[in-house]
């Protein structure tokens, strides 16, 4: 605690002034510095002296010296930036249609471009609560995203997603997250190989790693995992035994293999539903089962045609029959949901078909022909999806005047 300020003149230090003020000049006499002009009021003198004494504090405390090396900088990501329109589109997707985020990220990845750096923290936060986007996110954010995720415990999940080609050395190395990422990538590419890897390596793994890998089994596993999981009832770790028991019950509900969406099978199924002219709950359930897949164009066209046909049907006019009315309402709800699933799963190329439907519908309405469905929303959604894909394949040349 140095005396005074500028070395020489003041009698009281700052701390002495604070004490004097805390106690009060009425209670304990305060002797101001001779440099302060004399006055009748010691309180006023204290305040004036305090102003001068506090100048060093007002100019800020000494910055701390930083010892040690700078932290490792991010690796360079030399992919080109997505076009300006696509950067804008990200905002629209996040704010208005977050359900299309996974699709958009996959399209960005396919385009080989990278996102604006400023977008990374926001997306990493979204991925924390939204597991379905994590795979696409890891690929899109690339090496720099990986680097960033390592700096924040909340974003650690990204380190367990694979991106780029699988590196067997990751499995052999000490990094837990890298090992999980490897197994994750292997499961996505070749489930049989992944199963084999887990079975062989199991006895050498720590309980913590085992639990994390079981998370992958839950995510990717099918009935084919059952023998392995059943065997875990003998595992040395209680937590692993409990978790395995849990997973076993889930796996028993699943099919032998995740059904691949073959366009032919889809078409056949869709035709079957459409042919019975019973568009309704069964069709809707079928669509919901396929809600995570990309539908083929011809199959989507059949669904669209079935919707149009339903829309043109006059609702049968029995007003008295309450039960029939309830049935009709249920069917109508299911059909509207079906239209929603079509909007999300159909290829954006369906847009031109929907445009024609909307034009025809407008003409019908003008001719006072009633419709049960409004295809306008379907049009808006497909339009959005078509644009968001188009922007990512657009040429990089922007007209002059744009940033």
């Amino acid at each position: 605690m140095e005396r005074g300020w500028a070395g020489e003149h003041f009698v009281n230090t700052w701390t002495e002034l604070v004490s004097a003020a805390l106690i009060g000049t009425d209670r304990r006499a305060f002797v101001p510095d001779p440099a302060i002009p004399p006055g009748p009021d010691p309180a006023q003198a204290l305040l004036q002296q305090a102003m001068l004494a506090t100048i060093p504090a007002l100019t800020g405390s000494e910055p701390a010296r930083y010892e040690g090396p700078l932290p490792d900088p991010a690796p360079v990501d030399d992919r080109p930036l997505i076009p300006r329109a696509a950067q804008l589109r990200l905002r629209a997707v996040l704010d208005v249609y977050p359900k299309y985020l996974a699709e958009w990220l996959a399209a960005v990845h396919a385009s080989g471009c990278r996102l604006p750096l400023a977008a990374m923290p926001g997306l990493l936060d979204v991925g924390r609560n939204s597991a379905p986007i994590r795979g696409a996110l890891a690929n899109v954010l690339g090496v720099r995203g990986h680097w960033l995720a390592r700096q924040n415990a909340d974003w650690r999940y990204l380190l367990r997603e694979p991106f780029g080609p699988l590196r067997p050395e990751d499995w052999d190395g000490p990094d837990l997250d890298a090992r999980i990422a490897y197994a994750n990538g292997l499961y996505a590419a070749d489930p049989a190989a992944a199963r084999a890897l887990l079975e062989t390596a199991w006895p050498t793994l720590t309980a913590n790693l085992k639990l994390n890998l079981l998370g992958l089994v839950t995510r990717y596993g099918t009935k084919a995992e059952l023998p392995f999981v059943t065997g875990l009832a003998q595992d040395s770790s209680k937590q692993v035994r409990d978790e395995a028991h849990h997973i076993k019950a889930q796996l028993e509900q699943r099919d032998e293999e995740t059904p691949e969406l073959s366009p032919e099978k889809f078409m056949a199924d869709v035709r079957r539903f459409a042919a019975t002219k019973k568009i309704g709950n069964e069709f809707y359930h079928f669509a919901m089962q396929r809600a995570r897949d990309r539908w083929p164009l011809d199959g989507s066209r059949v669904v669209l045609a079935a919707l149009v046909e339903y829309s043109r049907e006059k609702p049968s006019g029995e007003t008295g029959d309450r039960a029939a009315e309830i049935r009709r309402n249920r069917v109508h709800w299911a059909v509207e949901q079906l239209m929603g699933v079509l909007a999300d799963c159909a290829p954006p190329e369906l847009l031109s078909d929907v445009e024609r439907v909307v034009q025809a519908q407008t003409a019908d309405i003008a001719a006072v022909v009633a419709h049960q469905l409004d295809f306008g929303n379907l049009l808006t959604l497909l339009d959005f999806r078509a644009d968001m894909h188009a922007e990512l394949t657009a040429s990089a040349d922007a007209p002059p005047g744009q940033e």
Binding site: V18, A21, Q44, T59, A64, Y66, L70, A92, G401
Partner: protein, 486 residues
């Protein structure tokens, strides 16, 4: 202000410029949603007439008719929204910016009518202004009326000064009472007596002092409250003395006292008496704050030739755009007038020319070190003892987590000098920066990660606010160009 020269067809506006026009983020979002061809029909543009129009399907049965005149810019939309520009206008602008609005030779009738109506209104406003000027000239010409007007204005100012005098008298008395009785009594008694005083000061339009008086209470709960309180008391006491003796102070310092009390000069005063500087100004940063349903926009500029830093301010009620749509990193030819002050910073735009969007990629402004910022801060305090923060552009800043005492804290490291200060947020406000409570803002990691994501952990130029509590970043220059830190 229109981001193009007045001659020739308009350059397409960039997305950043259009977004800067939006009155709030919700409008930006809504405008983006409408930037799809789906809801639009009959769109067109007339580059020669600087016009843009279109019909947008809305929730009603009739589509909303939207018109934009690019030179003013002026917006018209038949939707019921009170926001200005509304989301439909923003959507149309975005569509045009993306090149999806085709040029038309002829204007639709409704656009012609709107143009006609606008011309009429502008003419009316001009005749009204002319009439007012004539009246003023009459008064000026008429010595009796002029004298009367001057006397009335004198009287008003004197009354106001009198109210402020009374406020300060009361305040000085109260401050001295606390010091006589001892500050320990404050924690029990609190600041209730000051509520009335603060109100009276607000009524006297001494909003600056009123705010400082109101801020005395939060200082009580800060760490080291006796130090903060005595400091605040001493500064208020000095301000009271400055006000009382303002006639004897040098001009710039008297102007500072008036500003700190709450009597800011009007734009006319600044235009008439302020120091004028013409230069090409780089937009260093832009921030919007929304206290009390107002939008306060701050834009910091730095003259490329003079090196002067200027702060532009604009206000608007929530829902309206405050103007000053200047994208960060762009550069503006302009003549500014600085408000007279002991440490001049606030300025207004007198004339402006071309706005150039970002300079070619790779061009970044040169900055300075933390020590330079600290020196600039000390110089500002020497000129204006009530300074809490100064703008600063660091050349090589990088965010780091550093062990300080018993905890780890996010700090801004100046890679050139190996010094670091706490990382804080500009939104914390001047009071928090003065008290040090800005260091406890729970959103600090958000700013840190924004810097990390864009800077990649490499030292980069960062513009921000340097204060007692630390450095608050506003803009970082990255490989993606200048990025605003939210």
């Amino acid at each position: 202000m229109a981001p193009e020269t007045s001659s020739g067809p308009p350059q397409r506006w960039s997305v950043a410029q259009i977004h800067a026009l939006a009155p709030d983020p919700a409008s930006q979002k809504a405008g983006t949603k409408l930037a799809a061809p789906g809801p639009w029909s009959d769109t067109g543009a007339s580059p020669a007439a600087h016009l843009l129009w279109g019909d947008c399907k809305g929730s009603g049965s009739k589509p909303y008719q939207v018109t934009v005149e690019l030179s003013a810019p002026a917006f018209a939309c038949s939707c019921p929204s009170r926001k200005f520009p509304c989301k439909h206008a923003l959507g149309l602008l975005l569509l045009w910016s993306a090149g999806t609005v085709s040029d038309a030779d002829a204007l639709p009738q409704r656009v012609e009518e709107w143009l006609g109506g606008r011309k009429e209104r502008t003419q009316k406003a001009e005749t009204r202004k002319a009439a007012q000027a004539e009246k003023a000239a009459e008064v000026a010409g008429d010595p009796e009326a002029a004298r009367k007007a001057a006397v009335a204005a004198e009287k008003r100012n004197a009354q106001r000064a009198g109210r402020i005098d009374a406020g300060f008298d009361e305040l000085e008395l109260w401050l001295a009472d606390q010091v006589r009785g001892g500050l320990t009594g404050l924690r029990g008694a609190g600041y209730k007596p000051l509520d009335g005083l603060a109100r009276r000061l607000v009524d006297a339009q001494a909003s600056g002092v009123a705010a400082r008086v109101k801020d005395l209470a939060p200082a009580l709960s800060a760490e080291e409250w006796p130090d903060h309180t005595l400091r605040a008391f001493a500064q208020l006491n000095l301000l009271a003395q400055g006000w009382r003796n303002r006639a004897q102070l040098p001009g710039p310092l008297a102007a500072t006292v008036r500003r700190r009390v709450g009597l800011a000069p009007s734009t006319e005063e600044i235009a008439a008496t302020g120091e004028q500087v013409a230069d090409r100004w780089l937009v260093l940063g832009l921030r919007d704050d929304t206290p009390d349903k107002l939008v306060e926009r701050r834009v910091w500029l730095r003259g490329e030739n003079t090196g002067r830093v200027a702060l532009l301010l604009a206000f608007a009620p929530q829902g309206q755009s405050p103007g000053l749509a200047l994208p960060v990193g762009s550069s503006l030819d302009a003549r500014l007038a600085f408000a007279p002050d002991a440490a001049p910073l606030r300025a207004i735009v007198l004339e402006q020319g071309e706005l150039r969007s970002s300079a070619p990629a790779g061009s970044v402004p040169t900055g300075a070190t933390l020590e330079d910022a600290a020196s600039a801060f000390a110089a500002a305090v020497a000129a204006d003892p009530w300074t809490t923060a100064v703008p600063a552009l660091l050349e090589a800043a990088v965010p780091v987590l550093q062990q300080i005492g018993d905890r780890r804290e996010w700090r801004v490291l100046d890679a050139k000098g190996s010094l670091s200060v706490p990382l804080i947020r500009p939104g914390s406000g001047e009071t928090a920066m003065a008290l040090g409570t800005a260091r406890q803002d729970p959103d600090i990691p958000r700013s840190a990660y924004a810097l990390l994501a864009t800077g990649g952990g490499r030292p980069a130029p960062v513009f921000g606010i340097y204060s007692l509590s630390g450095f608050a970043p506003v803009t970082i220059w990255s490989v993606d160009g200048p990025v605003s830190i939210s």
